[in-house]
Symmetry: C2
Subunit: 341 residues, 2 copies
DNA sequence: CAATTCTTGATAGGCGTACATCAAAAATTG
DNA sequence: CAATTTTTGATGTACGCCTATCAAGAATTG
């Protein structure tokens, strides 16, 4: 039983290959009746177009654009590297991946960038600030036929077809559960530091964290959030101050960046064994501190996975190929010293 | 700058496309001098054969075989389902995936199966028992030009080109770290249950677990391993007995299957809040018990990921395509109630 | 040096689809 | 019913590589 080709479909439907092709590629100029006849033949024969041949024949490139935030946030830098790696890897397969940097905190700027790149690309992956004008820009792109995927940070109500990132509320809950379990019956205060409350993901993490802490571990009291602005020096100051103000501090959760600052502060104060510290993102500093024991657990999202997933989704939408649901689900990784990758 | 094709290489090397093709596909009948000339041209032009076109042109199918253990171990059943799913998914891309079941505990039987399937397949993925005759069979396959990948359970010294699975020693260490951190300053005994000591992975987990427990948590004493044979009813008995014999039992680690038995035993004895329980593999029972709180953490390997990875590796070896290292690294997942997928 | 073997070139057909073109047939309109 | 528009068929070229064949050239052998 050889492969079923477009020719078999044509014969079975009693039309020419040209017509089948017209139906397949949604070109107009085909009567509804004929379209239906062809489609039924496709279903009956279970015809599956050969994507390899299709991509070979359509010698056009697929063009995707990744829109990332400017700045030197460690995680975002990593993300950028992964995008570059993906670009290189996909090049021989006729997939061109560009990258643009924009100020994510400025909704209008981001929206403007998105508007600009409209017609050049088949798909866009964007680290999205949840802002009305950004939402609007995404709608615009979608209407112009550009597939949009959100990356790392989502805009739930928007027209994006997919979100390649983790559930940050769940991530916050995970942090809280770990904190509670690690602290056991110990009593005291738990400090919470976020990057900026302007970012959706940090707020969600904070929400999830507080939710679990208050419900399940009421013997621990959560201190008001402190903003560290993802800057490690500032985070260090905040941490030091926190320890001074609260001698009974037993736990720390950093929902944002600048983990390095907390590590430094804890070690300077020689409280690293004493205070349970949980943070996000497996950076070099975090990794080493995890091994030393200063950090007790890292909650991570795999940037490489996120980028590869976004690319796969964009590509699948572009030539309407299949998607493997499970493969595109980004996990909330928990890393201890012992299961580091 | 259009794509560099085989024609460009031919011209640059001053030979015909036929010769370039001979070199590329390692066909014989080409002088060393010429081979080198062509290869240098390839390098200079940075020629990358178009894998899409290649796979289209070679109308032969790629044939792979997955060799899994017989029996109704939950994890292995899941693995089998993933193989079936992969087979279906890859079919339209000219990849045929077969599956065979064998008694894994019998080295000779497994080796015999491997010997049999020699010439039909381009690649084999096998859940490998570490046994001399299996090792020998893998060597044989490799020599006959069949790519071999081990799956879930490895044979380190063998000729397999890749292992798609987790580091089980590290998994055991991870379990121990969690156990130690969850128990905090509590004192008492920790029970350890394995499926069978005939399986390499369980031994490794046990080793890793004991290693960390004795070194880092000396205030906890580990009880001698009990064999549960991956059978939940037997595991339940063992657990019940363990609790009776050791009234001061504070933790349980199940390195093998039959987690359901422990769940039942703990809940019957109303010790589920009291005893910290860590197990492997996110089965349905484990999942629900994790949510109820009977299970404190699950250490998991993603069967789907392992199968997909094995297929990617086999395919890459078959048409010497590139591999993404990071993508093929199977993670040791830690699941709490809050980061369930 | 002739006979043989080993290398290479030239060329053609095929893989399954995309895309374009032109003419023929069918449906729609006034 | 003629004129127009829409739909369809037939066909060819392209994508980049694989595979096979045959003849010619080069190197090796005795």
């Amino acid at each position: 039983m050889g492969k079923i080709t477009i020719l078999d479909v044509a014969q079975s439907a009693g039309v020419s290959v040209a017509t089948v092709d017209r139906v397949l590629n949604r070109r107009n100029g085909v009567r509804k009746v004929t379209v239906e006849r062809v489609e039924s033949a496709i279903r009956q024969l279970n015809y599956q177009p050969d994507r390899l041949a299709a991509r070979l024949a359509r010698s056009r490139d697929y063009r995707f654009c990744f829109v990332l935030p400017t700045g030197n946030n460690v995680f975002m830098v990593t993300l950028g590297e992964e995008v570059r790696a993906a670009a290189e890897r996909m090049a021989p397969e006729r997939v061109v991946i560009d990258m643009r940097l924009t100020d994510v905190f400025d909704g209008h700027a981001l929206a403007h960038t998105l508007d600009q790149i409209g017609d050049i690309y088949d798909g866009v992956a964007v680290v999205a600030l949840d802002h009305p004008s950004v939402r609007e820009a995404i709608s615009g792109l979608t209407q112009r036929g550009v597939t949009v995927v959100t990356l790392v940070s989502d805009i739930p109500g928007s027209k994006r077809v997919h979100y390649a990132g983790i559930d940050n509320t769940a991530a916050g809950r995970t942090a809280a559960s770990l904190m509670g379990k690690f602290l056991g019956s110990r009593q005291g205060e738990v400090g919470l530091i976020a990057g900026s409350l302007a970012l959706r993901d940090h707020i969600e993490r904070q929400f999830g964290f507080e939710q679990i802490m208050t419900h399940e571990y009421p013997h621990l009291s959560i201190l008001p959030v402190r903003e560290g602005r993802d800057d490690w020096q500032r985070v260090e100051e905040v941490t030091t101050q926190l320890m001074k103000e609260h001698p009974n501090l037993v736990g720390l959760y950093n929902a944002g960046g600048g983990t390095r600052g907390i590590i430094t502060a804890l070690e300077k104060a020689k409280r690293e064994r004493d205070i349970v510290f949980i943070a996000h993102e497996l950076t070099d500093h975090a990794r080493k501190a995890l091994i030393r024991g200063t950090v007790d657990a890292i909650i991570n999202q795999d940037a490489g996975h996120e980028v590869r997933s976004a690319v796969r989704v964009l590509l699948a939408k572009a030539d309407n190929g299949p998607l493997i649901e499970a493969q595109e689900r980004i996990r909330i990784d928990i890393f201890l010293r012992d299961n580091l990758p």
